[in-house]
Amino acid sequence: MSTAGIRLAAPGARPRTRGLVWLVARQHRAALWAGLAVVVAIAAYIVWQRTGMVGYLRAHDIQDCAGWKRFCHGRRIHPERGSDPTIEALRHLGDTYRAPLLNTGRLLIALPALIGVFIGAPLFARELEMGTHQLVWTQSVTRTRWLIAKLALPLVAVTAGTAILAALYTWWWRAARVQFPDIAWGTAAPFDATGPAAVALAPLAFFVGAAAGLLLRRTVPAMAVTLGVTAGVQYGLGALRPHLMTPRTIVSDASGDFAHTPLEIFYTSWRGIGDGYLTRSGAKIPSDHCSSAIGQDDWNRCLARSGATQKQYEELHPASHYWPMQWMQAGICLAVAVALAAFCVWWIRRRPTVKETA
């Protein structure tokens, strides 16, 4: 029945793109196919790797197991024994999948820069450089509509492509997280390669490139500036990330032992935000407070002078901070992206933009 319906409704009515949509699609035809190939290739690799990894976990019955846990599916784990089968399986898992997992993440965090440099920057720069903007601006469409079409279509494409890859990588990462407790979730790979933060970086980098191209009017300088700005933004976001939320502070007992803190906190948190000693009144003395000390005696004297006791503290972001921080970073990126988009529209409307030729 439905087949007949389609047949009836489709006498030569292959959907045809129109107007500016056709123009932008035609201009980016090659880039679209290339981008599609990249997405399919990386997606296939992630699915293949994850399937292999999950198969291995099942085969050795070590799903959700980790070296620091005492039990794995009811079996006692003996990390101190050399031949514990669970430990052996986990080690082999690490040997096989740790590098692919991290390297795929590193590849994904390079995608925003690639999007900005190769799709965003040439978008307007090439037209302004070659003068083809004059061709379009003298047809019967306004330059604002042209600008919006040029921005909207590639934006949808790069965001969709990035979203697919980020979703797949998040899916892989969530299956691997427990087994790789030493990969800090707050570092660029995986944080910038997973979740909404990964998706939001794509429009940001795209608009950085587009705005640079509009301002500089030259393709190669626009690409260089976009690369620099995108790298700077990602570095800056990494530096800002620990401060997005107040870290949780865990405190040792009077002798400096953290034994009463559940092991899970240490193995699922993003650690290394800060550590040091507490004074009697509970004030924090960061461990680098005495970093200029030479030798153990000097160090001890320095600590004693500052009133530090044996009681230690550590600041970390528990696993529960992952999603709020993801959304915060995504929000920042999207806000800047929207501002850049508004800037592009404002710029094209106010500028009598033509090369100064006589």
Binding site: W22, G131, T132, L135, V136, T138, Q139, V141, V354
Partner: protein, 310 residues
């Protein structure tokens, strides 16, 4: 309504000025081009021809003054539909095929005429499947012209469209262009420095120099307003008394004979002087050779009465 706007003229400028960072490209330009005219825009390089055309195409915003096409600002959508522009360097997308380029015209212009555009391309013997980047300069110009003609505009602005054409194709393209213009009453402004190209084709003239308009009006009016007079040169140089009453554009002395291009005030006759009506090319050459000659603005409503009516 359309007629009302057309009464305003295809192109109307007053006090028009355009300043780039390096200086003024146009200063205090006033002109009036009625709809449906074929206008030659002539002048040396850097005289402001391209700037004037870019302003009329809505690509530039004037620094001073106003410019209206069919009574509207050039960047207004209603004006854009009615004006087609071929820029001097003929920008086209090099990776598009000729067919794609024409499709661009079809997708972005409500009045698009595919047949008219294809006719131009066929006349120039450019295959529709060829990539624009692989075409010669002359062939690319033809594709740009096809795009402009297919737009079905009421005013074509063409910036040196024939400069890279071989003589045969130039002749053919002018033929197609003029046939279209005659058939539909389309106005054309065509900039050039090859004067012969436009002989017998244009009925309106704008001569530019140093960012100003030096000569403007119908070709017949301009021709009629000038005389070439030949006679004995004054002894000891200087302007002969016979020329004193008239506006002298240019004088040349060959031996004892003097030839002058003048705008006569009253009867230019005098004993021993031969008076002839110059060709349009002679007028243009006279003005080009004499950059300081006083301008004649026969199309400016403010000056038309005083300058030509006399």
């Amino acid at each position: 309504m359309t007629d009302e706007i057309d009464a305003a003229g295809a192109l109307e400028a007053s006090g028009l000025g355009m300043k780039y960072r390096r200086g003024w490209a146009l200063r205090d330009v006033a002109c009036h081009l009625p709809a449906g005219r074929i206008c030659a825009l002539v002048g040396p390089n850097g005289s402001g021809k391209s700037t004037l055309l870019s302003l009329a195409a809505g690509l530039l915003t004037p620094t001073t003054g106003t410019l209206r096409v069919f009574g509207r600002p050039p960047a207004a959508p209603a004006a854009r539909e009615r004006v087609a522009f071929v820029a001097q360097d003929k920008p086209l997308y090099p990776r598009f095929s000729v067919a794609d380029t024409l499709r661009l015209g079809r997708e972005l212009n409500p009045r698009w005429d595919q047949k008219a555009a294809e006719r131009v391309v066929e006349e120039a013997e450019v295959p529709l499947s060829a990539r624009v980047g692989s075409l010669s300069g002359g062939q690319r110009t033809c594709v740009a012209l096809a795009l402009a003609l297919g737009k079905r505009a009421d005013l074509l602005l063409l910036d040196e469209p024939m400069s890279d054409q071989d003589p045969l194709r130039r002749h053919r393209m002018m033929g197609v262009l003029m046939a279209e213009a005659a058939e539909r009453g389309t106005g054309v402004v065509i900039s050039t420095h090859v004067l012969a190209e436009l002989d017998g084709v244009c009925d309106h003239l704008l001569l530019m120099g140093g960012g100003r308009i030096r000569l403007a009006g119908g070709t017949d009016e301009i021709q009629a307003a000038h005389r070439v007079i030949t006679g004995p040169s004054a002894t000891g140089g200087g302007t002969p008394a016979a020329l004193a009453r008239h506006t002298v554009v240019e004088t040349r002395t060959t031996g004892r004979q003097l030839t002058a291009l003048i705008r006569p005030e009253g009867t230019p006759a005098g004993d021993g002087w031969i008076v002839t009506e110059p060709s349009l090319e002679e007028v243009l050459l006279g003005y080009l050779r004499a950059p300081d000659a006083p301008p004649l603005l026969a199309d400016d409503p403010r000056t038309a009465d005083t300058e030509v009516g006399a």
